[in-house]
Symmetry: C2
Subunit: 140 residues, 2 copies
DNA sequence: CCCCTTTTGTTTGTATACGAATATTTTAGT
DNA sequence: ACTAAAATATTCGTATACAAACAAAAGGGG
């Protein structure tokens, strides 16, 4: 590998791997009419429903401007609702709509299947190191 | 961690880590008026100049439609040129312009500095596992 | 109570990222 | 040589991603 190859950079390796995995998710989630990122938002709401917008963005390590657009599309499709925060008129709370509650187990089964297909390519030690390193980078 | 947390999914971990690292790159590359992805394109051309469009897209594991836009911006800024492929009128060749040749070492020094700052957070064993796993996923 | 600062979410502009449709050209089969 | 199929790059539409500017509301100091 030449010293000029982009693949020498860890950022490129991360980006390439992430795009491969995410594209695989997208293709398989498409029949459910949901994107990978939208699935993450629903996952967070399945964990804690009725959460503040800002808190949701922080849990997803996502910029607020990005989350606004994703919630627009999830709301249009009937997966979530925005409601006023009675304690702070600047803030809003995000709730799951019935459609998201109904399909929860179906969505999760598929996502776990996809995740296991990645996991099975590696030893448990490799995978443990991978998750530890990614978590450390991600939480920095 | 609840079984509904998005951070249980390896795809989410990858995405979050990639966004953190890439944002760090973007901030530091901004004074050079170049993005992280544009830097990867130049890196590939520093390795092999005058390469076919399709070949370049494959080296970068990038969709052709994405590369078209990136080359538009690199060409507008005077970093690369597109030229006709004399062997195939459908194809085109991508060349470095003088501006990219001039700043090559400056760009590379900065990118290596950023990369080393990530690398130094981990043991050499952890980093070796990380790169091996990311390469395997990325080349699949 | 008033003003200044901070916080919160949206909007706007730009840059990836990619599927689908398209125009042009090449290749392959007959 | 002719035609159908394949290959190549672009364009279009949609979805992230994020910086910067913005409007509305809350907080804090006087």
């Amino acid at each position: 590998m030449s010293i000029f190859s982009p693949s020498q950079y860890i950022c490129f390796k991360l980006s390439r791997a992430m795009r491969k995995v995410q594209r695989y998710y997208e293709v398989n989630l498409a029949p459910l009419e949901i994107t990978t990122v939208q699935f993450y938002v629903l996952s967070s709401l399945w964990e804690t429903n009725g959460v503040k917008f800002k808190e949701l963005a922080q849990k997803l390590s996502m910029d607020g401007a990005t989350l606004t657009g994703i919630l627009d599309r999830l709301e249009r499709q009937g997966f979530v609702t925005r409601e006023d925060d009675p304690e702070d008129r600047r803030s809003l709370l995000v709730f799951l709509a019935d459609k998201a509650k109904l399909h929860r187990d179906e969505f999760r089964r598929l996502a776990e299947t996809l995740d296991n297909e990645i996991r099975d390519q590696f030893s448990s030690g490799e995978f443990a190191t991978l998750t530890r390193v990614l978590d450390q980078i991600g939480k920095s």
